[in-house]
Every structure is written in structure tokens, then in C-alpha cells.
């Protein structure tokens, strides 16, 4: 799938270097867009409630941003391979239930279950590649499987997070609130892994031009398995982080994460096809959504019922801005 390639093949004359630097500028502008939307939301919060801009305020406001950021990164890996994961939300819920029960009571079994669930993700990647199935359908089906398993493990809300997880998530470093450090760490690690390493190039290339990659002798089965396994891994981290914050679990706890994670990736400058993703952007997108959803609305005295609508509005505004920039590129 190479829409640009075919569109560009119409043009004839070589682009001059000044035109290309204009393109690079537009790309930079588009890359800054997620950061600018985050700054905008922060400014709005600062204006509405200056006291929120403090160590304590950020710790509180960004509390839930860590699991959202991790789920967004998880979603980003499948999107990098031109797939979509509609089960990440219920998967996070499932992991939460395992964390609040097995991982506390029988840590070894809990760890095995979580590793096994990452293995299931890897197998899904293999299945999707080998049988050429649409990932949307497969993961939609899996979302019911994870939900069902979560309900089996924890029929009613309860359980308790392991103590080490509680103390980790309650960690209070000096000067900079923990959620910000965590977000920086996640963004840096994934950026290095996906954008800087030599195999990261192959993973992104599988989304950009799979045929070229297989002609160069790379296994597309392997790239798909790796991408899905990474999604599973970050889904597990997200579920554990979530339980570390909420202390107890509920089978439906992660249901909102599916759409939130997709929105975060797109908000962060990613595209559904073509292997164009940005880990730093995705984390910023997740932070923006987390901030805009509840704290901003609370300060604006808007009831939480409007949370989803507010997320949607942000998404539409940012995407509209991106389209405007892209149009200038032409």
C-alpha cells in the first residue's frame, strides 16, 4: 500500500532542494503539533487553576496518564505494522485482574499467566500474517475472550495489588513528579528501540513497504510476531501500572483504553497505514488526552459525563490542524 508513491509518480521534474527543505519544515511543524496541543491544554489548566501547576498538582492530574501512555505505546506497535488492536482495552482489564489476584497470591503463576498472554499476542500476529486475516476482526474477537477471562478471574470488583507494585507507583521522587519521569522514560526507551535501532527500522519498514522488505530477504512473519508481542508486553505493563494506582481491580477497568490508545497514537502524529508512528508523539498524545479528559473539565466545571466528547473534540481539532499543514505541503 503506497498511496504517496503512486500519487508522486505523476509528477515529473525532480524536486529542488528548497522544495525539500520546505517539506522538512512542514514535517517538523507536524511533529511539533502533539507537543503544541499538550502545551495548549497545560496553559488552559494554568489559567483556570494556577495552583494545579505544582508538584502535587501534576502528580494528581497525571496519575492515570502512565497506564494510558503504556496502552498507547502498545497500540502504536500494531499500527506501525498497518494493523489495529481492538482488544487492548479488555486485555488491560484482564491483566489488571490477574495482577490483583494471582500476581499477589501466587506470584509465579501470575508471572506465567502474564508471559503466556504475551505469547498469545505473538501467536495472534502469526495467525494474522499466515492466514492473511484482518486484524480488526481477530482482535475484536479477542476482546471478548479477554473480557470473559477477566470476569472469570474476578466476577466482582476486588482483589489487591501486590505491595511492591503499590510502592513503585506511589514513588515520590524529588522535584519532578513520578508520572512525568515515567512518561519521559517510556518515550525515551521506545523511541530508541523503534526509531534508532537497526531492527526498529525493519519493523517500521514492514508497515511502509512490506513487499520491498520481503524482497530484501526479511521475514514478514517475524516482524508481525515481534510487533504483536511488543503490543502484548506493553499491554501487560499498562494493566499492572493501572492496578498499582487503583489498588484493586474490576473486569471492566480497561474498557475505555481501546479507543483512548488509538486516539493517542493518532494525536501523537501516527497514521493508520504506512508505518508512520512516533513513540514520543504517542506518549505526548496520551498525556494530552489524560489531562484534557478529567482535570481540565473539572476546572471548567463541566461534568465528567462529557469526558469522552471532550476527547473527541481534541482529536478532531488536532487532526484538522494536521490536514491544514499537510495541505500546505502540496
Amino acid at each position: 500500500m503506497r498511496p504517496e508513491m503512486t500519487a508522486a509518480s505523476v509528477e515529473s521534474g525532480p524536486k529542488s532542494s528548497s522544495e525539500r527543505s520546505a517539506l522538512a519544515r512542514a514535517r517538523l511543524l507536524r511533529g511539533l503539533l502533539p507537543a503544541m496541543s499538550l502545551v495548549l491544554v497545560l496553559l488552559a489548566i494554568a489559567w483556570l487553576n494556577p495552583r494545579a501547576i505544582s508538584y502535587f498538582g501534576f502528580s494528581l492530574m497525571l496519575n492515570l496518564a502512565i497506564p494510558i501512555a503504556l496502552a498507547t505505546i502498545a497500540q502504536m506497535f500494531v499500527i506501525a505494522g498497518n494493523e489495529l488492536d481492538l482488544s487492548i482495552g479488555t486485555f488491560v482489564g484482564f491483566v489488571g485482574c490477574v495482577t490483583a489476584t494471582w500476581l499477589k497470591e501466587a506470584p509465579l503463576v501470575g508471572v506465567l499467566i502474564l508471559l503466556g498472554s504475551i505469547g498469545v499476542y505473538a501467536l495472534l500476529g502469526a495467525l494474522i500474517h499466515l492466514r492473511n486475516l484482518p486484524s480488526i476482526v481477530v482482535t475484536l474477537g479477542m476482546s471478548f475472550v479477554w473480557q470473559g477471562l477477566a470476569i472469570l478471574i474476578l466476577p466482582k470488583p476486588g482483589g489487591k495489588a501486590p505491595d511492591w507494585l503499590l510502592s513503585l507507583m506511589a514513588f515520590k521522587p524529588p522535584f519532578v513528579p513520578f508520572p512525568i519521569i515515567a512518561a519521559l522514560l517510556i518515550a525515551a526507551v521506545v523511541h530508541f528501540g523503534l526509531m534508532r535501532t537497526s531492527y526498529g527500522v525493519i519493523l517500521r519498514g514492514s508497515g511502509g513497504n512490506a513487499a520491498a522488505l520481503s524482497r530484501a530477504g526479511w521475514s514478514l512473519l517475524k516482524t508481525k510476531i515481534v510487533l504483536f508481542a511488543l503490543t502484548g508486553l506493553f499491554g501487560v505493563l499498562s494493566g499492572m501500572a493501572l492496578i498499582g494506582i487503583t489498588t484493586s481491580a474490576d473486569a471492566n477497568i480497561g474498557n475505555g483504553y481501546t479507543l483512548l490508545s488509538i486516539a493517542g497514537v493518532i494525536l501523537g502524529g501516527g497514521e493508520f497505514v504506512g508505518g508512520r508512528v512516533s513513540p514520543i508523539g504517542a506518549v505526548i498524545g496520551a498525556l494530552t488526552l489524560a489531562l484534557a479528559a478529567s482535570p481540565l473539565l473539572t476546572f471548567m466545571h463541566i461534568p465528567p459525563d462529557w469526558q469522552v466528547a471532550a476527547n473527541g473534540a481534541i482529536l478532531i481539532i488536532v487532526l484538522a490542524a494536521r490536514v491544514l499543514i499537510s495541505r500546505k505541503e502540496r
Binding site: 504517496e4 525532480p14 525539500r20 517539506l23 522538512a24 519498514g205 513497504n209 522488505l213
Partner: protein
């Protein structure tokens, strides 16, 4: 640049050209390949010697690309033998080909648009890894670009999709010549200059000569015959999935090449019939100028005429047919259409067939207005239409209500013809519809087309098979989105068409 372990035998003069004494880099014996019913390669013997540049020419569908895919390891022959440097390769594959130093620059661009030039280089080099690989990849590609295309102004950090198509092709060519751990022996260049301007094309061809002079080998595929004549040591001509000539480049000139490609064998002509049928010019049906036409050439079709659209594949024929189709519904500048239009799609799987529907429904869709009974479609009339055309065009099926996929490929195509011919359309556009259809079906459809033309229908027929043009009253030859020649029935020869569509002038 690491040398291969085997000695490179350097010979000069005529000996080199015939490859008799040299070690063959690659040799294929009796390579055959079928795609469904279509035979793409019919027992081809092909070899490339060390220090040799082999030019490969042939018409569309002659089997050049299939052969090259086998050399590069992306396709496995159904039967036949592949030997590299004398050693038989039983499990030949892309990684194996790369180990042996055989690379291919494919016709369709194979860069990842989302990656930078350096990152795209990394994809072809598993050895570019570990600490500092980005720097190494960038230096590698930049050095090669400097060597082949001095003054190229491409940065290794540029994202591929930001580059023009010509620069992308330059990157792709340069990438094929970069060397890390695997040796480099043979590079296949499939239409490497198609997107390059004259200057960069010259740079590339000069580099190829230097490369070959250094004892390496090259296969050059080009539709610009002058490039092949001027740069190849030996020229291999393919036609209909076979090698029909292989000789030193010096032994060829332009005319001999064109004649060999086209086949001198006289074919049975339907010409006589067409000539007697030639109607007194009926009313004007279509007048169209291609969007990129700069001179006054335009396509004109009258009632009862069969007009051929010829030239190399993808040179604007389909675009013009689609523009005419669109102009029938909504006025378009430069195109005049005076009667209803129907289109027979070339790619029937994606553009023609409704896969879930029956044969009868697939035929009736273009004629719904006539099949209607009140608000609903009358099953009786639909069945009548389908039965009429089943008999008329000979669709071989016991039941027209079974799914369209129960038919063979040729019969599916007949159903699509029935859809167009059964409609009220006076103009039928055909977008190379007979690709991959067996000869029996073809002859039946040709008869039908001529018969319908006799009744006043107009046919605009784009075809990549030159034989089909025998059915046409006159033929427009396309090149680069423009009409470059109009040939009447009497001047229509394959040589003439090839001559026009390969014109080096443009």
C-alpha cells in the same frame, strides 16, 4: 569492496561477448513458469558471464520480468535448473541470491516511503547493525550516490516519500551497488532510467560501463533500445515467454532488434474482413484529447468503428478510457461523447466482478433500468437477458444463477462482455480485457466485437497484445500519456507500432 573467493577471469574482445570461456555468474536451463493457465516462461535458457553486460529486450508480457524474478530469487521456476558460478542451486531464494552477490533493482520502486535514505539502505544490508549503524549506512549510501550521480543533492537523512520519483530511483540504483559483507557480482537493472532525466540516465549508464569493466556483471532491461544497443555487450531478445535471439550487441541494429521483438511471421489476417466491412463514416461518437497531449492529435471514433489503443503498458491508454467513461456522465473539457458508454474492465477481479452475485446478476447490473418492473427488478427479465447472452456469447455453465466464480476465467470475462453488450451502450470501452484469457475464448469474442461493430456500435480497445489490433479499423499509439501516432488499417504492422512506441526522441 571485498572480492569474491573465486577468481574473476578477465577476457577481452569477442570471446568475452559469447561467454564461452568465461565462468557464468548465473545460468538458467529450461526455466518454465506458469501462472494459472498462462505460460509466462516456456523453457528459457539464459546465462550471464563475468564482466558482461547483457541487454534484455522484448515486448510487454514477453517474460522478461518473470525471468529476472527467477534470477533474483523472488520466483521459483516450475521446472528447470539454476546454476550460479557452475554450482547447481536447488533451494535458490532471495537470501541465497544475496549471499552469492546477485541483486535486482525492480521496476516498481521498492523503497519504504516512511524511512530515510540511510534507513532504506539498512534494509538491504543485514550487516548494518550494532553501535553506529546509522552513521555507517549514511556514509555508505552517500558515497555510492556521489560515485554514480555526482552532484545529486540527496541527503542520507531525507525521507524517501519527500524525494521526487527520479531521486527515489537514483537512491534505489545506488543502494543496489552498495557493498557490506556479501559480495557483489551481478546487478539486474529493470528499466533503471524510466524516471531519470537524460543527464542522470547518462551518469548511470557510464557507471554501468565502469562496473562491467571492473569484471562485474549487469543485466540491463530497457524499452529505450538505444540504451541497450549502446551499453550492452550481448543482447537477448524475448518473445512469448521464449528467448528468440541472443547475440553480440554489435550484431544488432535498431531495425533488426525491432523485427526480432515483433516476430516476422505473417499472421492470419482478419484484415480482409475488416476492410470489406469498413463502413461509410457513421455519426461521430467520441472525440477525445489525452490530458497531457500538447499537439493537436486527438482520438476520433465514429459509429461502427473499432479503434485500437496501442503502445507500451501504462502509457496513458487506460487513463484516456476512464476519462471518456467519466465524460459520458459529466461534461469534461476536451472530450466529447455522444452516446451511452459501457466499460469492460481489464482487471476483472478488482474492477469487474461482483464476487457474491450470480452470473445473471453480474450481467444484468448495467441494464437495471430495462430489467425493472415497478420498483423491483423483474427476475424473469433478468433471466431472459442472461439466457440470451449465454447462448449468444457461449458462456459455459449449466445454471446462470450459480455464483460467478463457478466459471473459468475466460467465461467470467465473457460474462463481463455480455454485461456491456447487453446494455444500451453504443460505445464500448475495453481496457485490455483479454489478458490471461485462452485463445478459444479470444477468437469468439473477436467475432462478436466485429459483429456488433457491424451493427453500429463503437469499440475503443486498449490492448497490450498486438495481434488483437488486427481487428481494428485504425490504431492510436500512446507514449507518455500522449497520442504519438495514428495508423490506418493498411499501415498497421507490428514493426510500425513498436517503432512509434519505442521512439527514443521523447
Amino acid at each position: 569492496m571485498p572480492e569474491a573467493g573465486v577468481d574473476i577471469i578477465r577476457l577481452d574482445g569477442a570471446e568475452k561477448h559469447f561467454g564461452a570461456a568465461t565462468v557464468d555468474i548465473i545460468r538458467l536451463d529450461g526455466a518454465e513458469k506458469h501462472f494459472g493457465a498462462v505460460r509466462a516462461l516456456a523453457g528459457v535458457d539464459f546465462h550471464v558471464g563475468a564482466g558482461e553486460c547483457v541487454g534484455l529486450v522484448g515486448h510487454n508480457g514477453a517474460g522478461k520480468s518473470t525471468l529476472m524474478h527467477m534470477v533474483a530469487g523472488t520466483l521459483v521456476p516450475d521446472s528447470g535448473r539454476i546454476a550460479v558460478r557452475g554450482g547447481i542451486e536447488d533451494n535458490y531464494s532471495v537470501p541465497r541470491a544475496q549471499q552469492l552477490g546477485i541483486r535486482c533493482v525492480f521496476q516498481e520502486l521498492s523503497l519504504c516511503p516512511n524511512l530515510s535514505v540511510a534507513e532504506n539502505t539498512r534494509i538491504n544490508h543485514p550487516a548494518l547493525r550494532g553501535f553506529g549503524w546509522r552513521r555507517k549506512a549514511a556514509d555508505l549510501i552517500a558515497a555510492k550516490l556521489d560515485e554514480i550521480f555526482p552532484g545529486h543533492s540527496i541527503s542520507a537523512a531525507d525521507i524517501a516519500s519527500d524525494l521526487s520519483i527520479g531521486r527515489r530511483q537514483m537512491v534505489e540504483v545506488a543502494r543496489a551497488f552498495t557493498v557490506t559483507q556479501d559480495p557483489l557480482e551481478l546487478v539486474i537493472l529493470d528499466e533503471p532510467t524510466s524516471s531519470l532525466d537524460a543527464h542522470t540516465a547518462g551518469q548511470l549508464l557510464a557507471f554501468v560501463r565502469r562496473f562491467v569493466a571492473g569484471g562485474k556483471s549487469c543485466i540491463l532491461i530497457s524499452h529505450v533500445l538505444g540504451e541497450v544497443l549502446g551499453n550492452a555487450d550481448r543482447i537477448v531478445v524475448m518473445r512469448d515467454g521464449k528467448v528468440v535471439a541472443s547475440d553480440a550487441a554489435k550484431a544488432f541494429d535498431r531495425d533488426r532488434l525491432v523485427t526480432t521483438m515483433g516476430g516476422a511471421a505473417a499472421r492470419e489476417k482478419i484484415a480482409a474482413e475488416i476492410a470489406t466491412q469498413k463502413p461509410e463514416t457513421g455519426p461521430l461518437r467520441v472525440r477525445a484529447r489525452p490530458a497531457r497531449q500538447q499537439d493537436g492529435n486527438e482520438l476520433v471514433a465514429h459509429a461502427g468503428e473499432i479503434i485500437g489503443l496501442a503502445g507500451l503498458a501504462g502509457h496513458g491508454q487506460t487513463d484516456l478510457l476512464l476519462a471518456i467513461f467519466a465524460a459520458a456522465a459529466r461534461t469534461k473539457t476536451g472530450i466529447e461523447v455522444t452516446a451511452p458508454v459501457a466499460l469492460v474492465a481489464g482487471d476483472r477481479q478488482s474492477d469487474g466482478i461482483f464476487p457474491q452475485w450470480s452470473i445473471a446478476q453480474n450481467i444484468g447490473i448495467r441494464s437495471l433500468a430495462r430489467l425493472r418492473n415497478g420498483l423491483l427488478i423483474s427476475p424473469r427479465r433478468e433471466a431472459e437477458l442472461a439466457d440470451f447472452w449465454q447462448k449468444k456469447i457461449g458462456i459455459r455453465t449449466p445454471d446462470m444463477n450459480s455464483n460467478i466464480f463457478s466459471l473459468s476465467g475466460g467465461n467470467q470475462q465473457k460474462a463481463l462482455f455480455a454485461r456491456a453488450l447487453g446494455s444500451d451502450a453504443k460505445i464500448v470501452l475495453m481496457d485490455d480485457p483479454m489478458r490471461g484469457v485462452d485463445i478459444g475464448t479470444k477468437l469468439e469474442v473477436y467475432d462478436l466485437v466485429r459483429e456488433e461493430a457491424g451493427r453500429g456500435r463503437t469499440f475503443l480497445w486498449y490492448t497490450t497484445e498486438t495481434e488483437e489490433l488486427d481487428n481494428c479499423h485504425h490504431v492510436y499509439v500512446f507514449k507518455n500519456g500522449r497520442i504519438v501516432a495514428k495508423l490506418g488499417r493498411d499501415e498497421l504492422t507490428e514493426e510500425k507500432i513498436i517503432q512509434s512506441s519505442f521512439g527514443d526522441a521523447a
